[in-house]
C-alpha cells in the first residue's frame, strides 16, 4: 500500500479537496502558514516578534479549522445538528430550572417586600393573634422610630374562579415610612383619604389585577373569606414604587380597620413593622421588645423570612437542578461519541496533517475546536431555549411550591447574570470535557499508523480488568456516600451516590458487551448476520461501551425516576387509605386557593356536630410556630379517637389516648429527622401563655410536607392559645348515612354561593393525587427530555459505527454479501446495542431507584418510601428501547447498503 487510501465516507472532505485542487496546491495551502511563520523578523524586539508569531499561529489555526472542521461539519449536517440539539437541550434544561427556581424565590422575597415594606424589624404573631393594643407600647419603645400594624388575609373571588386577593390591612397614618407602593385614585395621582377610611370596605387593587379582570373605580366585587360572602368596593390602585421586582398582582390593600372587620379579626394583628431610630442597636431593641410581646411572637428582620423560605425550598430546588443535569450528562456522552467518530473518520487526514508538520497540540485543538463550535452553537440555542422553557416551567414550579410549601405567584422571570454565565461555562466545560479524550487520542496518533488505513478500527479489543474494578469501586463509593448522606449529611451526598451508581454500571459495560459477544459467538454458528453483529460488538469495545453506557444512563434515569414516583405514589396511597377515613371534608373554599388562612364559622361547625347523620367530627387548624429559630407547621386536631395515624414505633391505640389526654405532641417522620428528635424527647413551644414543654408521644408517617408536621390536640391548643378558630372539619358519618345528602344539606344551608368546599372521601383522594401528579410534572418533563436525548444517542452511535466500518462493509459486499445482508447486520447490531443498554439501564435504574427513594428522599425530605415497582411499565422498557434502537439504526443501515463497494475498498 504505497498510497494511503481515503475511504469515501470518512475522508470525503479531503478527497474532495484533493480532487478539486492539484495535490501541490493543496499542500501549499496547508504549508502556507508554516512558511509564513518564518516571515516574522528573525531578530528585533522580542515582544513584537512574539506577537507576530502569535498572530500567524492564530491565522494558521483558523485556516486549518476552516478546512478541516467547518467543511466536515458542513458535510455532516445531521450529525452536527443532533449534537448541537443535545447540548442545547442539556443547557436549556439546566438554565430553565435555574431561572424557574430563582424566580420563585424572588417572587417570595418581593411579597415580603410588599408586606413588610421598608421595615427593619417585624413583630410577628404565628397564630395571627397579636393583640392590637400592643401597638402603642411597642411604638413608644426606645429605639423605635416608626411602627405600623398589619392585618393580612386571603379572600377568594367567586366571580373569577381560582382567583384570590392577598389582602393587606394597612394603616395609612403610620405606614408612610414603610410603604413600597403608592395608593392613588384610578384617575389621578391623588388619594381621597376620606373615601379610604369611610369605607365600607373600599379596596386598592394592583394595576395588573384591575386590568386583567377589567375592574374600574366604583366596581363592586364579591369576596369570600372565612365562609362568608362580602362585597368590596374598588376605589384605589396600588402601584409599586421602587421595588426592583413587580410584586404579585394579587396583593390588595384596604384600611386596617376594614380589614379587621372583613376578616373577623377585630382586636388582633398579624404583624407590626418597625423602623429604628438612627444609631439604635437592633439587638437591644429586639431584647426589649421580646419582653413586651407575647411569648409566641417573633421579633426579627423581615429578610429572615425570605431566607427561611429559601432554605425550605432548597431541597426541592436542588432536586430539580440535579435532574436537569442528567440531560447534560447524557449530552456529554453524545458529544464524546461524535468527536470520537470524527476522529475515527479522519484518521488519515490526521496522518496527512501530522506528516505535513502539524503538531500534536494543533491536532488536539482542532478537535477540541470542533467540539467547541458544536458546543457554542448548542449553548447559544440552549440559552434561548432555556429562557422560553423557563417561561413554560415556572408556572408549574410555582404551583408545586404553592401546594407544598408557601403560596407564591411568579410575576416575571428573574434572571441574574450569573445564571447565564454559569450555564455557559457549564455547557462549555461539559462539551470540552467530553471531547478531551477523543481529541487526545487524535493527537496521540502515530502519523504512519494513522495513514495506514487498515488500522483505523479500534485496537483495544482486549478487555481490561481495570474497567470492572473501577465499576466495583464506584458502586462501593455509592454505598459509602449513601450511608454518609443518611447518617451524617449533607444530604446532597445522595446525588454523589446516584452519580456513582450510574458510573459503576457504565464501567461494567465493556465486560457485559464482551461476555455477550462471546456468548453469542459460541451459540450462533448458522446465522451469519447476528454472528457478525456480535463479533463487531465485541471488537469496537470502548466505543460501543460508551454508546451503550450513555443509553443505559438515560434508561436508568427513566427507570429510577419511574420507580421512585411509583413507590412514592403507592406509599402515599397506602398511607391515605389508612389515615384518610372520614366521610366528608368541609372547609372554606378560600383555603383551597390560598392555603389554610380562612376559618370555619362556629355555626357551620355546630351544624355538622348536631346533624343526626353525623357520628363525630374532627377539626383541623393549621399554624406556623417558631421552633429553634425555624418555622414549623403545626396541625391542631380534635381527634375524638378517630384519627388513625401510623407510627414508626408504638401502637396507635396506646399513643392516641396519650395524645388526647395529656400535654404532649406527635411529630411526623420528616419533622423528627429535620430536628433530630425521637419519641420520648421533649419539645418546648412558645404559647401565648408562656413557653410550655411537650413530650413527643410518637412519630408518625406523613407525606404532606417535607418540612414535617407537628400534631397538637385541640384541647391543649384551646387551653394554651385561647383560640378556637378552625380551618376545616372532617366528618365521620353514621353507618347508614349518605355522605351525599349530608353534603347537600350543608351546601344548601351554608355554601349556596360556593363559600365552602365540601369533599367526599373519594373526591379528596382524587384531589390529593392531582396535587401529587402536579408535583412531579416537572420531573416527567425532565425525564422525557432525557429519553429523547438518549434515542438521539443511539442514532449517533450507529451512524458513527457505519462510518467507521465503511471499509469493512465494502469488503463484505465484495466477497458477496448482499446490500440486504449488510443492512440486516447493522440492524442486528443496533438491536443488540439497544438490548444491552436496556439490560444495563434497567439494572442501573433499579439501583438508582434505591438511591432516589431510600437515600435522596430520606436525606432531603425525611420520609420513608416503601419501594414498589411498576412491573408492567418496566417490562415494556426494554421492548421500546430495542425498538427505538432498531429504528435509530435504520438510516445508517440503509446508507451502509448503498455504500459504493469499489470506493470503500479502493485502498485494498
Amino acid at each position: 500500500m504505497a498510497v494511503p487510501g481515503l475511504p469515501r465516507e470518512g475522508g470525503a472532505q479531503s478527497q474532495h479537496t484533493l480532487r478539486a485542487n492539484p495535490e501541490g496546491r493543496a499542500s501549499a495551502a496547508f504549508a502556507r502558514p508554516w512558511t509564513s511563520r518564518s516571515s516574522c523578523p528573525p531578530t528585533g524586539l522580542a515582544p513584537a516578534r512574539f506577537l507576530c508569531i502569535l498572530r500567524h499561529l492564530i491565522q494558521q489555526y483558523f485556516l486549518l479549522f476552516r478546512w478541516q472542521v467547518l467543511r466536515y461539519l458542513q458535510r455532516h449536517p445531521l450529525l452536527a445538528t443532533l449534537n448541537v440539539a443535545t447540548v442545547a437541550l442539556g443547557v436549556a434544561l439546566f438554565l430553565a430550572i435555574q431561572i424557574a427556581n430563582q424566580s420563585a424565590n424572588r417572587a417570595f422575597e418581593a411579597s415580603v417586600d410588599v408586606v413588610a415594606g421598608k421595615a427593619q424589624l417585624e413583630v410577628n404573631a404565628p397564630a395571627g393573634n397579636l393583640p392590637d393594643n400592643l401597638l402603642p407600647e411597642i411604638a413608644h419603645q426606645p429605639g423605635i422610630a416608626a411602627a405600623t400594624p398589619i392585618v393580612r388575609g386571603f379572600v377568594t373571588l367567586p366571580q373569577f374562579p381560582g382567583e384570590y386577593l392577598d389582602l393587606l390591612g394597612i394603616d395609612v397614618f403610620t405606614n408612610e415610612a414603610f410603604r413600597t407602593f403608592q395608593l392613588t385614585d384610578f384617575s389621578a395621582e391623588t388619594f381621597d383619604l376620606q373615601q379610604w377610611l369611610r369605607g365600607p370596605r373600599v379596596v386598592a387593587l394592583s394595576e395588573g389585577f384591575a386590568q386583567q379582570h377589567q375592574l374600574h373605580a366604583g366596581d363592586e366585587i364579591t369576596v369570600q373569606s372565612n365562609g362568608t360572602t362580602k362585597r368590596l368596593t374598588i376605589g384605589f390602585l396600588l402601584r409599586s414604587k421602587d421595588s426592583a421586582v413587580a410584586p404579585d398582582t394579587h396583593f390588595a390593600a384596604i384600611d386596617i380597620g376594614w380589614a379587621q372587620e372583613l376578616l373577623g379579626r377585630s382586636g388582633t394583628l398579624d404583624s407590626i413593622s418597625l423602623r429604628l431610630t438612627k444609631g439604635a442597636d437592633p439587638k437591644t431593641v429586639v431584647a426589649a421588645l421580646r419582653k413586651i410581646v407575647p411569648p409566641d411572637a417573633t421579633v426579627a428582620a423581615p429578610a429572615q423570612r425570605g431566607e427561611e423560605i429559601g432554605k425550605m425550598l432548597a431541597g426541592f430546588q436542588l432536586n430539580l437542578a440535579a435532574m436537569s443535569l442528567v440531560s447534560l450528562l447524557v449530552g456529554m456522552f453524545l458529544v464524546y461519541n461524535t468527536i470520537e467518530a470524527s476522529v475515527v473518520r479522519r484518521r488519515s487526514e490526521i496522518g496527512i496533517l501530522r506528516s505535513l508538520g502539524a503538531t500534536r497540540a494543533e491536532v488536539r485543538w482542532l478537535f477540541l475546536g470542533e467540539a467547541a463550535v458544536l458546543g457554542l452553537i448548542g449553548i447559544g440555542a440552549g440559552m434561548v431555549g432555556g429562557y422560553f422553557l423557563a417561561r413554560a416551567l415556572v408556572g408549574t414550579v410555582a404551583e408545586t411550591i404553592s401546594s407544598l410549601y408557601v403560596l407564591i405567584h411568579v410575576q416575571q422571570l428573574e434572571i441574574a447574570p450569573w445564571v447565564w454565565i454559569s450555564s455557559f461555562i457549564l455547557g462549555l466545560v461539559s462539551v470540552l470535557g467530553a471531547a478531551w479524550l477523543p481529541a487526545q487520542s487524535a493527537a496521540a496518533a502515530d502519523p504512519v499508523q494513522a495513514l495506514h488505513g487498515g488500522l483505523r478500527i479500534e485496537r483495544a479489543t482486549r478487555l481490561s480488568r481495570g474497567w470492572i474494578f473501577c465499576g466495583a469501586v464506584s458502586l462501593l463509593l455509592a454505598a459509602v456516600l449513601s450511608w454518609l448522606a443518611l447518617n451524617t449529611g449533607p444530604p446532597w451526598l445522595g446525588f454523589g451516590a446516584a452519580f456513582f451508581v450510574l458510573a459503576g454500571f457504565s464501567l461494567a459495560a465493556p465486560e457485559l458487551i464482551a461476555r455477550f459477544s462471546r456468548l453469542l459467538r459460541s451459540h450462533l454458528h448458522r446465522r451469519i448476520e447476528p454472528l457478525l453483529a456480535a463479533v463487531n460488538l465485541g471488537r469496537a469495545l470502548l466505543r460501543n461501551s460508551i454508546t451503550i453506557a450513555s443509553l443505559a444512563a438515560a434508561v436508568a434515569m427513566t427507570v429510577g425516576v419511574a420507580v421512585m414516583v411509583f413507590s412514592f405514589r403507592q406509599t402515599v396511597s397506602t398511607w391515605i387509605d389508612q389515615t384518610l377515613i372520614a366521610d366528608l371534608f368541609v372547609g372554606p373554599a378560600a383555603n383551597e386557593i390560598a392555603g389554610p388562612n380562612s376559618f370555619m364559622p362556629p355555626e357551620a361547625i355546630q351544624f355538622l356536630e348536631r346533624n343526626a347523620a353525623v357520628e363525630a367530627i374532627d377539626t383541623f387548624r393549621a399554624l406556623a410556630l417558631p421552633f429553634r429559630d425555624q418555622t414549623i407547621s403545626v396541625a391542631v386536631v380534635r381527634g375524638s379517637n378517630r384519627r388513625n395515624l401510623r407510627f414508626l414505633h408504638g401502637r396507635n391505640d396506646e399513643i392516641m389516648p396519650r395524645f388526647y389526654g395529656e400535654q404532649c405532641v406527635l411529630v411526623s417522620e420528616s419533622f423528627a429527622r429535620r430536628f433530630h428528635l425521637a419519641a420520648g424527647d421533649t419539645m418546648e413551644l412558645p404559647t401565648p401563655s408562656g413557653r410550655a414543654a411537650f413530650p413527643i408521644a410518637g412519630v408518625f408517617y406523613n407525606y404532606t410536607n417535607d418540612q414535617g408536621l407537628l400534631f397538637l390536640s385541640e384541647k391543649n391548643f384551646r387551653r394554651l392559645w385561647h383560640d378556637e378558630r378552625v380551618n376545616s372539619v372532617a366528618v365521620y358519618l353514621k353507618k347508614e348515612a349518605s355522605p351525599q345528602s349530608v353534603a347537600d344539606e350543608f351546601r344548601q344551608r351554608f355554601s349556596h354561593r360556593g363559600e365552602f368546599s365540601v369533599y367526599s372521601n373519594r373526591a379528596l383522594r382524587t384531589r390529593i393525587f392531582e396535587i401529587f401528579d402536579q408535583t412531579f410534572a416537572v420531573t416527567y418533563v425532565l425525564r422525557t427530555i432525557a429519553i429523547v436525548v438518549a434515542v438521539v444517542g443511539i442514532f449517533l452511535g450507529l451512524t458513527t459505527l457505519v462510518a467507521e466500518r465503511a471499509h469493512e462493509i465494502g469488503v463484505l459486499r465484495s466477497i458477496g454479501a448482499s446490500a440486504g445482508q449488510v443492512q440486516r447486520l447493522l440492524l442486528w447490531e443496533s438491536g443488540m446495542i439497544g438490548l444491552l443498554a436496556s439490560a444495563l439501564g434497567m439494572a442501573a435504574g433499579l439501583c438508582l431507584a434505591l438511591v432516589l427513594t431510600g437515600v435522596i428522599n430520606r436525606a432531603f425530605f425525611g420520609w420513608t418510601i416503601q419501594l414498589a415497582f411498576p412491573w408492567a411499565s418496566l417490562a415494556w422498557t426494554p421492548l421500546w428501547i430495542v425498538a427505538a434502537a432498531i429504528v435509530a439504526g435504520w438510516i445508517p443501515a440503509w446508507r451502509a447498503g448503498r455504500l459504493d463497494v469499489a470506493d470503500a475498498i479502493r485502498s485494498e
Binding site: D171, Q194, W258, Q260, R265, S266
Partner: protein, 361 residues
C-alpha cells in the same frame, strides 16, 4: 373660618352630607358646653394663635390647632368592632415663629386615635394628640402644651373677653346656598403666660392669644380657590377678624365677612362691602415657588379704621402634606378715627402653593 381649606380635601366628598348635621341659623351658643366637641358635625377645630415676648424683649408667635375631621357620622358607626374604625380623624398643627432669630418651626400630627392617644373630650381635656394637649380649667382658662424637635411650648391662657359669635343669626356663611356655613365663635383676647423652649434654650413668655372654635358640615362650595384671613388685636383694646374667600375666577366671594370687637366686648358684624383688603408686599417661597401676599393695607371705613400689616418674619410657610399654607404673626400700625393705632395679629393665606382645584380632584 380658618383652615377649613384643610378639610376641603376631605369635606368635598359628596356622599358625606346626609348623615351629618349642617350649620343652620338660630343656634344658641352656651359655654362652656360649646367649647367641647360637636360630633354630629363633620369638621371642627380649636385654633390658638398668639404673639408673645420674653424678658429680653424678643418677639415670638405661635399657632396650635386641633382639627377633627369626621369620617363616619355617629349614625354610621354602629355595627363595627375594629378599634381602627374611628368616627373621626385627629390632626394638629403647631408652629413657632422667632422674629429676632428669624426662625420658623412647624410640625403636623395626624392620628386615628384608636388607642386614645388622640381625641376630643367631654371633660376638661378638650383635644389632644400624643403630647399635644388642650385643656380647659374650671375657671374658664385654658392650658396648651405642644412640642416638636425645635421647640416646645406650655402656656396658660386666661380670657380677657367673652366669646364672640361671628356672622349673623349664629352662623358664619362661607358660600352662597343653604348649608354652606359654620358655627364660629372666638375669644379674641386671652392673657397668656408660660414657657417656650427653642432648641436648647428655655425661657418664660407672656403676651396675648386669640382662640377660634368652628364646626360645620360641607360649609364650602366648589369654585373657591382659597382665602386670606386676618385676626388683629389693637392696643386700644379692640379686635378685628376679616376673611376674604377667593374664587377660582379671581374674584372675591361676596359672602366674605368679618367682625369688629370693641374694647367693651360688643361686636359688629362686617360684610364684604364694609372692608377692603389690598395686598402690599409679596414673598416668594424658595421651596414651593408660591408667591404669598404677606403685607396688606386694610380699611374698614365704617369704623374709621386704616392700617397696614407687617409680618414679623417673611418665611412663615407651613409645608405640610397634603396642604401648604402661610400663617404668620404680624405687627400692625395705622389710624383709628385719625389717631395712631398699633397692635399685633395673625394672618393666614391659603390656596397659593397648591391650587385648590388640584387638590379637589
Amino acid at each position: 373660618m380658618r383652615k377649613a381649606f384643610l378639610i376641603w380635601l376631605l369635606a368635598i366628598a359628596p356622599a358625606a352630607g346626609a348623615e351629618w348635621k349642617i350649620a343652620e341659623p338660630g343656634l344658641r351658643y352656651e359655654f362652656p358646653r360649646d367649647h367641647h366637641v360637636h360630633e354630629e358635625f363633620k369638621t371642627e377645630w380649636w385654633y390658638f394663635t398668639g404673639n408673645l415676648t420674653n424678658a429680653s424683649g424678643g418677639l415670638f408667635g405661635y399657632e396650635l390647632t386641633f382639627f377633627r375631621q369626621g369620617v363616619r357620622s355617629p349614625a354610621e358607626r354602629a355595627g363595627t368592632t375594629s378599634r381602627f374604625l374611628v368616627g373621626d380623624l385627629k390632626f394638629a398643627h403647631f408652629a413657632v415663629t422667632d422674629a429676632a432669630g428669624r426662625r420658623f418651626f412647624f410640625e403636623q400630627k395626624t392620628s386615628r386615635g384608636s388607642f386614645g392617644e388622640a381625641g376630643f373630650g367631654e371633660s376638661d381635656r378638650l383635644a389632644w394628640i400624643d403630647s399635644w394637649d388642650l385643656k380647659m380649667n374650671p375657671d374658664g382658662s385654658f392650658d396648651l402644651a405642644a412640642d416638636m424637635s425645635g421647640a416646645d411650648l406650655r402656656l396658660h391662657l386666661a380670657p380677657l373677653k367673652a366669646p364672640v359669635v361671628h356672622g349673623t343669626k349664629g352662623i358664619s356663611e362661607k358660600a352662597a346656598g343653604e348649608g354652606h356655613a359654620s358655627y364660629y365663635y372666638s375669644i379674641t383676647r386671652l392673657r397668656t403666660s408660660g414657657q417656650l423652649r427653642l432648641r436648647d434654650v428655655r425661657f418664660a413668655v407672656t403676651g396675648e392669644s386669640w382662640f377660634d372654635h368652628e364646626w360645620a358640615t360641607n360649609q364650602l362650595a366648589a369654585g373657591q380657590a382659597g382665602w386670606n384671613w386676618v385676626s388683629a388685636q389693637f392696643d386700644d383694646g379692640s379686635e378685628l377678624m376679616l376673611y376674604e374667600m377667593r374664587l377660582t375666577n379671581g374674584a372675591i366671594d361676596p359672602v366674605s365677612s368679618g367682625t369688629f370687637i370693641r374694647a367693651d366686648g360688643s361686636s359688629i358684624a362686617l360684610t364684604s362691602a364694609d372692608f377692603q383688603m389690598t395686598p402690599a408686599t409679596f414673598w416668594r417661597s424658595k421651596t414651593t415657588k408660591a408667591s404669598y401676599p404677606i403685607g396688606w393695607k386694610i380699611a374698614v371705613p365704617r369704623e374709621q379704621l386704616d392700617f397696614a400689616i407687617h409680618p414679623v418674619l417673611k418665611d412663615q410657610e407651613l409645608i405640610l402634606s397634603p396642604i401648604i399654607y402661610w400663617e404668620g404673626a404680624f405687627n400692625l400700625e395705622g389710624t383709628r378715627a385719625g389717631k395712631p393705632i398699633s397692635g399685633r395679629g395673625y394672618i393666614e393665606l391659603t390656596g397659593y402653593a397648591t391650587p385648590l382645584q388640584e387638590l379637589n380632584r
